[in-house]
Assembly symmetry: C2
């Protein structure tokens, strides 16, 4: 009899956002009259901007004519998109990243989940706690995390790096040496950013200790402060130790469009093995490229018109962030994030656990958020709200919370 | 120092179609005057049909308005698409597959490569030889295949099931018991189909021996004969032992659009573990859904107009298949496939190896095909041509081959 991958079965419960979706749907079914506002999953609400819509229509027309039809895309993505990214996201910021170090994909989530495949089965991983669940879950599925302790919510073989009020939600360097370090800044879920000198310390640590940093910069567009790096490659030596993952979901609103990219520098080598070549091999073997139409939409993000409109989108959501941050603060909540990020991280009140606060807010205010403990043990007692709603919904949600 | 996944480094050379692409580009650069015709990689050439173009434009417009904008799609895909598939591809053929056993993805290649994750690390895999390289390569990357013998082109721990002229390119049941059996019918690369009573024997074998069949039915639309099953679920008991992978690439021309789906029946259980639930967990954790616009394009494939146009596309390519098959036969080549499949499988001449024949055809006729040995040791001495060119190119290629 065949046997299954037992590591999959170790995962407790279901994927965090699937659980939230199920709970919300159950509440709506039980209370069809309730007008539930979701500030939970980090999904955008504003439509695609006109420059992107135009590019999509044109690309659809391309697909309707034999002369301009596009079949399989190149393994790494179209060169016109990779060159545009290399220039705009890197060269213009003083980082030298070549187009053949950029891999276009259907989004940061797949890349975040798949990147661990490049590393040895017994690699030790270190994650910030709390953090986006995909890093740990994908390593659980790959058998790297040991056993789960339901009491502590921790895996025996994962190095957790607490992000707490005390350290300003920027983890201290780990005490044990990991092989892989997952960092996400601006952070999901705390909304806190890392300063350039702080990030340089992580790069230096990785170089000294032979670690690879997986740097998730999905929220880069929300950075508003000067000394916050937009890319890890702004730090000296990062090309020798870091992989960077980027998304079009949160800046251009591509959550339902699906586009992202990952940078694996050629300088990233382990003995004779080039991680860039290994990732290229994975793209060639297990992936078939992002759709032509959607790569064209990605390209449109970098035109003058596209950039201006996307800036407008980000500003729109950041107004919500201010609404939530200032509103909650005014009510006496302890709040973090929201300055370089679309996430607000608040402390639950009345000694409630994160899930108790979730149920309390859903039941009494009809507002869905995300329980902090879903992001790791140190998220317990916190709660995440997102700025991705409409102005109207965000203001309405705040009013309801104020009335509690 | 961190270490990489050494299994990746075992892969000889690069992914087959990447190598062919590189060789073709090198030839074109050296001979800019040459008008190279590609009948190599199975990429389509005809534009998307009007019903799909219309659906795409409408979906783009949906994304331009807040009221109809779509963010993250449901983990398994939109229910309207899964319900349409359940009805048209299964219920209408007498197979009872429920929409929540259908998982929408960005294509059959990803699913073919990722499905092995559900199984134990030491699972034994059996593949037809020759076969689409993704099945073996993805298992190499997962460490299941042992060591590679460059002499024989074989992996020590893979069970190869020869598909030869003697057995009509339908493999005999394996002598050793595998855990996973990859079957692809109509077959890539041989173009040969399997009859229903033959496939039933495989299902019976899997049930008796505790195996799972991964059934790749990407070429189902090309079936023209009556007694050839379109789905493995036409066989009794298949829901207890088989996963089926489907593609929109080859029927609707979605190679650059990216859409596919995989069926994991609820009846497929190993002890207490439901493979359907495990695949759902993978979708939830490492994937973020196919784009809304492209799921709408998939839906349009099933409308009356969409079906008629797609039938026209398939007929167009099958005319090419007949052109190639009859043309080569007339020249004295030994040829197979082409009846229930867009692939023609021919024997090389003059004692040439597959790669020698590739170079010979490229150099002397400016025609790119795929060397049979790229699909496995038993592909040596064979060569694959695809029917996915235009009529004009296909006829021109045949004329050039005739003139050799």
């Amino acid at each position: 009899m065949y046997r299954v991958n037992e590591d999959y079965l170790k995962l407790p419960g279901s994927y965090l956002f699937s659980t939230i979706g199920k709970k919300s749907r159950a509440f709506k079914e039980a209370h069809p009259e309730a007008d539930v506002i979701s500030l939970g999953i980090g999904d955008v609400t504003q439509p695609l901007v006109p420059a992107i819509i135009k590019a999509l229509h044109e690309a659809v027309d391309d697909m309707s004519r034999a002369e301009t039809f596009h079949g399989y895309s190149p393994d790494l993505g179209y060169s016109w998109l990779r060159e545009t990214i290399a220039k705009n996201d890197y060269a213009d910021r003083g980082c030298s990243i070549s187009p053949d170090e950029i891999f276009i994909s259907d989004g940061a989530k797949c890349d975040s989940g798949n990147i661990q495949e490049l590393f040895a089965a017994d690699s030790r991983i270190a994650v910030c706690d709390p953090v986006y669940p995909v890093y740990v879950d994908s390593n659980v599925m790959a058998g790297r995390t040991g056993s789960y302790d339901p009491e502590t919510g921790c895996w025996s073989d994962v190095i957790y790096m607490p992000c707490t009020e005390e350290n300003g939600f920027v983890a201290d360097l780990p005490k044990e040496r990991p092989d892989l370090i997952y960092l996400c800044f601006p952070n999901n879920p705390t909304g806190v950013a890392i300063k350039k000198d702080q990030l340089q310390k992580w790069v230096d640590y990785a170089l000294e200790n032979g670690c690879v940093i997986i740097y998730d910069a999905a929220y880069e567009a929300y950075i508003s402060e000067e000394d916050v790096p937009h890319s890890i490659y702004e730090c000296a030596g990062a090309k020798e130790c870091a992989i960077e993952i980027r998304s079009f979901s949160k800046n251009a609103g591509f959550t339902g469009v699906r586009l992202g990219y990952t940078v694996v520098p050629k300088a990233l080598k382990c003995g004779g093995a080039s991680l860039r070549d290994m990732w290229a091999r994975r793209h060639g073997t297990k992936y078939n490229g992002a759709p032509y139409m959607i790569q064209r939409a990605g390209e449109a993000c970098y035109t003058e018109e596209g950039r201006a409109s996307i800036r407008g989108l980000v500003d729109y959501y950041m107004e919500n962030a201010a609404t939530i941050y200032d509103g909650l603060k005014g009510m006496g909540y302890t709040v973090y994030g929201g300055v370089n990020s679309p996430y607000i991280w608040l402390k639950t009140t009345g000694g409630m656990t994160s899930w108790e606060f979730f149920d309390y807010l859903l039941k009494n205010a009809g507002v869905v958020g995300t329980p902090g403990s879903g992001f790791g043990p140190n998220g317990e007692g916190f709660f995440r709200l997102t700025a991705f709603g409409t102005h109207e919904n965000t203001q309405a949600a705040l009013k309801r919370i104020a009335a509690l």
